[in-house]
Symmetry: C2
Subunit: 474 residues, 2 copies
C-alpha cells in the first residue's frame, strides 16, 4: 500500500521551507517531512542565537572604551550570564516560532525520518509514498565524536550551547571557523576564560595571509589560541582536560565547533540508481539543483559547497521552481559572500585571495588602525584588501577584518555582482567621516597602480562630461 | 607695486586644500590665503568634533539596553562631561593638525583677508597680487544674530560648542537640520535636558513625510521639540530665556544651529564684472566651477547647492584642474548623498522624495521595528523608503531613518550612481542576519508592484542562465 502525492520535501530547514514556498504556488498535493525538532538550523541553533549572544557580548565589551570617552563607572558593570542566555533563548524561540509558522501545512507536514526507496518512492514512518518530484534538504549536524558523549554537558555544540542555564568559568573552543571565531570571542567578552584549539593558524574562513595576520593578534588579545595537534578530550576531576600534544588545559566546558557533517546516512541516496561521490551525494547541477536527469533535487547545506543561509534559501527556491519545470532551468548563483560576526567583522566577498592565486590582479588595502572615523569610535583595528582584475579593472573580490565589515562586504558584493570596476566604485559618493572612506583608500591604492603605469589614467574619481549636457544627471 | 603669481587660492578649507593639491601638481607659483583660524570647518568645528561628541553620547546611551541584554550595573554609569569635551578637543586637534599639514606651503601661505580687485587682481593685507587664475573657496560661518553677542558664552554655535570646558544642565537647540538634530540628540544622550526649537516640523533634511513621521517621535522620546514662531533669546537671571510665541523656556545655554551663511562680504566679487545673484554670487558652472568665462573658479560651501565635505572636496579638485585647462572641462557630479548621524541615522540618497514629486515612481518600504537583526541588537526603530522609476525599474533615490543607515545609504548610492535597477540590487547576495535584509524587503515590495501588473516578471531575485554556461561566473 502506498499513497501517491505530487511533491515530497525531505527536511523543513531553511532550504526545505524555501522549496515549500514555491511548491505551494504550484500544487496542494505535497508533503514536507522533518526529522528531529522543527524550526531551522539558522533560527534554532545557528545565525539567530549566535547573533543574540554576540550582541550582548559586544555591548558589554564596549565598556572598555568608556573611560576614554569620558564615561565613568564601567567597573561596576557585570554580566548576569543566566539572564544573557535567557534572552538568547527567549528571542530565539520567537524566531523559531516564525519558521515553524512558515512550514505549517497541517496534515501535509510529518515528523519522521524519510528513506528513499527510488527516484519516486519514499518511506516515512513505515508508510510508502510515491512522489512525482522529490526535494532533498536534510541539512547538517555538528561534527561530534561518539567518545565525547560520556562527558555529558561538559562537551557542547551549538545544538546545546544556548540551552545551558549558565556556563562555566573556563571554556575551550575547538575550531576557529566562522562559528568558533564568533563564539570564542563572544564567550570571552562575556567574561569566560576561553582557550581556542586549532590545528593550523586559520580563522574566520580568511584565506588572505595579510588579513588573517591582522585579525589573529586581535583575537589573541581576547582569548588564548593554541595551534597544534588535533585536540583530545578527557574527563578530569575539575572538568574536562583538553589535550593537544604536550599542551593540556583543564576547562569547565568545551564547545566543539569543528564543522558540520551532512545528514546523508540512511537517506537511501543509493537507491537513486546513480553513482554517489565521496560525501555520499549523487551528481547534481549546482545551478538547477537537479540530481542527474531525475525528478529529484538537492538544496541546502547537505551540499557543502556553500553552506550559508542565503545560499540554502536560493537553492530551495531553485529546486522548488525546477521541480515543476518541464526542463529544469539554470540560475546564475550570486556573488560569494561569507561573513563572520567577530569584531572586527571578518568577510570574504567574491573570489577569495586563495581562489585568485596565479591570476593577474591588482591589490589595494586599508589599515583601519589610523582611519579617521574608526578612531573617533574607538574601533580602529583591522585590514581590508580588495582584488581587481589588472586587465579590465573589474573588482573580483575582497577579504577583510574591518569595523562595520559586514556593511563594507555588502557594498563590495553589490559591485562584484554587477561587474563594476574599481573606477566605477570610486565614482560613487562617499560621505565624511565614514568607514567607507577606508574602503575608498583601498580602491584608490589599487587604482594608483594603473595610473602609475598608464600616465594620468586615474587622476580623478570623477567622470568627465560634455559641459552642455552633464548637468542632466543628478 | 604688485607681485605676479600664477594661482591664488582664497580659503584653506576642505575645498581650498583640494584645489591646492591639484595646483601644486602644475605650478610652484601659487599663494593660498586664509582668513581666521587655519584648519578646515570640517576638522575644526564640523564633521569631526560633532562625530566625537556623538560617539561618546551613543556609547553612554547604549546602557539603556544593558538590562535587557543581561548586563547589570548600568545605573552606576555617569558622564564626566568635561572629560568628554576634553577628548573631543584632543582628537579634534589631531585632525586639525592633519589638515594644516596638508596646507603647509611655507611662505606661499598667508593669513589674511583677500579682496578681489578684478578677475586677476587680489589684495591681501594691503599688498596687491596679480594672478593668472583665482580659486575662491571662502566657505561659510554659522548664522548668528548680532543681538545675541551680549549673551556671551550662553549662546553657542558649533564654532564655540566644543571649546566649552563643560556644558549647562539645560540647553536649547535652535534648528533641526543635520547639525541641530545630531547635536540635540547627542547632548540629550549625555544627560543634558534639551529643548529644540523649530519653525516647522522638519528634521535631518528629510523630505519624505513618512520617513520624517518615523524619526520625529524617536527624537521626541529623547528631547523636547517646540514647533512654533522663530525663537527669540533674552537674558534671564538663571540663564537665557528662549521665547517662541507664548512658549518660554529658561536654559543655561543655547546652541544656534539655524544654518550657515556664505562668506562673501567684502570679497569683492562685484569687481569681476559680472552680475551677482541674490546670494551675492557670480554666475558659475556647477560642473566646471568656472565663473562666467573668467579664469576664476568657485569651490566649496560658499556655493550652498551642496554644502557637504565630499562635494566641497570634489569642487576644489575640479576647480584646481580646470584652472589649468585650456578649455575647462565638465565633470559629472556624484549621486547626491546626505547623512545625519542621529540614531537611527537619517539619510537622503539620490533624488529625494520631494524632488521626485510628480514623477511616476514605485515606492518600497521597510519598517525596522520588527526587522530581525535590528531586534537582536535592540536597534529596531526606523523606516526606509526606496524610489524607483516605474518605466525602467531604475533606482532613483531613497530616504531613511534606519539602524546602520549610513551604510545602507552608501549601498543605495552605489546602485543609483551606476544606474542599477531594483532587480539588479535584488540579485546581490544578502547575508543573514543583517540589516541589509531590511533594505531587501523594501526592494522586494517595490518589485512586487511590477510583478503584480506584469505577471511573474519578478518571481525570483535570481537571473536565469543557460545551464551549460551559468557555472562560469562566480
Amino acid at each position: 500500500m502506498h499513497e501517491n502525492i505530487d511533491t515530497l520535501i525531505i527536511g523543513a530547514g531553511s532550504a526545505g521551507l524555501a522549496a515549500l514556498r514555491e511548491v505551494r504556488k504550484r500544487t496542494d498535493s505535497f508533503l514536507i517531512v522533518n526529522d528531529g525538532p522543527w524550526g531551522t538550523t539558522c533560527a534554532r541553533v545557528g545565525c539567530m542565537p549566535s547573533k543574540l549572544l554576540i550582541e550582548a557580548a559586544n555591548a558589554f565589551h564596549r565598556r572598555n572604551s568608556f573611560e576614554a570617552f569620558g564615561i565613568r563607572g564601567a567597573g561596576q558593570l557585570h554580566v548576569d550570564l543566566p539572564a544573557v542566555l535567557h534572552r538568547v533563548r527567549s528571542l530565539r524561540d520567537g524566531f523559531v516560532a516564525g519558521t515553524i509558522q512558515d512550514s505549517d501545512a497541517g496534515d501535509r507536514q510529518i515528523s519522521g525520518r524519510a528513506h528513499l526507496l527510488g527516484p519516486d518512492r519514499v518511506s516515512v514512518n513505515g508508510k510508502e509514498y510515491r512522489a512525482r518530484r522529490i526535494i532533498i534538504a536534510t541539512g547538517t549536524r555538528p561534527r561530534f565524536e561518539n567518545a565525547w558523549r560520556s562527558l555529558g554537558d561538559r562537551v557542547l555544540t551549538t545544538d546545546s550551547l544556548f540551552e545551558q542555564p549558565t556556563l562555566g568559568r573556563r571554556m575551550a573552543v575547538l575550531g576557529l571557523g566562522a562559528v568558533g571565531t564568533e563564539m570564542a570571542q563572544a564567550l570571552a567578552r562575556l567574561g569566560i576564560e576561553v582557550t581556542a584549539f586549532v590545528t593550523r593558524r586559520s580563522a574566520a574562513g580568511l584565506s588572505d595571509p595579510e588579513v588573517l595576520g591582522a585579525l589573529w593578534p586581535l583575537l589573541e588579545r581576547e582569548f588564548a589560541i593554541h595551534v597544534g595537534e588535533r585536540a583530545r578530550l578527557a574527563a578530569h576531576a575539575h572538568g574536562v582536560e583538553v589535550i593537544s600534544g604536550d599542551h593540556r588545559v583543564v576547562v569547565d566546558q568545551v564547545l566543539v565547533a569543528s564543522g558540520r557533517v551532512p545528514n546523508v546516512e540512511g537517506l537511501g541516496l543509493d537507491t537513486l540508481g546513480v553513482t554517489l561521490d565521496e560525501h555520499g551525494l549523487p551528481p547534481f547541477d549546482r545551478n538547477s539543483r537537479q540530481v542527474a536527469d531525475l525528478p529529484v533535487f538537492i538544496a541546502g547545506d547537505l551540499d557543502p559547497a556553500r553552506a550559508l543561509l542565503h545560499e540554502a534559501v536560493d537553492e530551495g527556491h531553485i529546486a522548488g521552481m525546477n521541480a515543476f519545470a518541464g526542463q529544469p532551468q539554470g540560475f546564475r548563483r550570486r556573488t560569494a559572500l561569507a561573513i563572520t560576526f567577530s569584531q572586527p567583522n571578518a568577510a570574504v566577498v567574491g573570489r577569495s585571495f586563495k581562489e585568485l592565486s596565479g591570476e593577474d590582479i591588482v591589490i589595494g588595502h586599508i589599515d583601519f588602525s589610523r582611519q579617521g572615523r574608526a578612531r573617533i569610535a574607538q574601533e580602529n583595528a583591522g585590514l581590508l584588501r580588495v582584488y581587481a582584475d589588472r586587465a579590465t579593472g573589474r573588482l573580483l573580490g575582497s577579504e577583510m577584518c574591518a569595523p562595520a565589515g559586514e556593511h563594507l562586504a555588502h557594498l563590495l558584493a553589490l559591485a562584484v555582482n554587477n561587474g563594476l570596476t574599481v573606477q566605477q566604485m570610486l565614482n560613487m559618493p562617499i560621505y565624511h567621516p565614514v568607514l567607507e572612506e577606508g574602503l575608498r583608500t583601498a580602491l584608490r591604492r589599487a587604482a594608483s597602480q594603473w595610473s602609475a603605469k598608464g600616465g594620468d589614467k586615474a587622476v580623478s574619481d570623477l567622470e568627465a562630461c560634455d559641459l552642455n549636457r552633464c548637468g542632466v544627471m543628478d
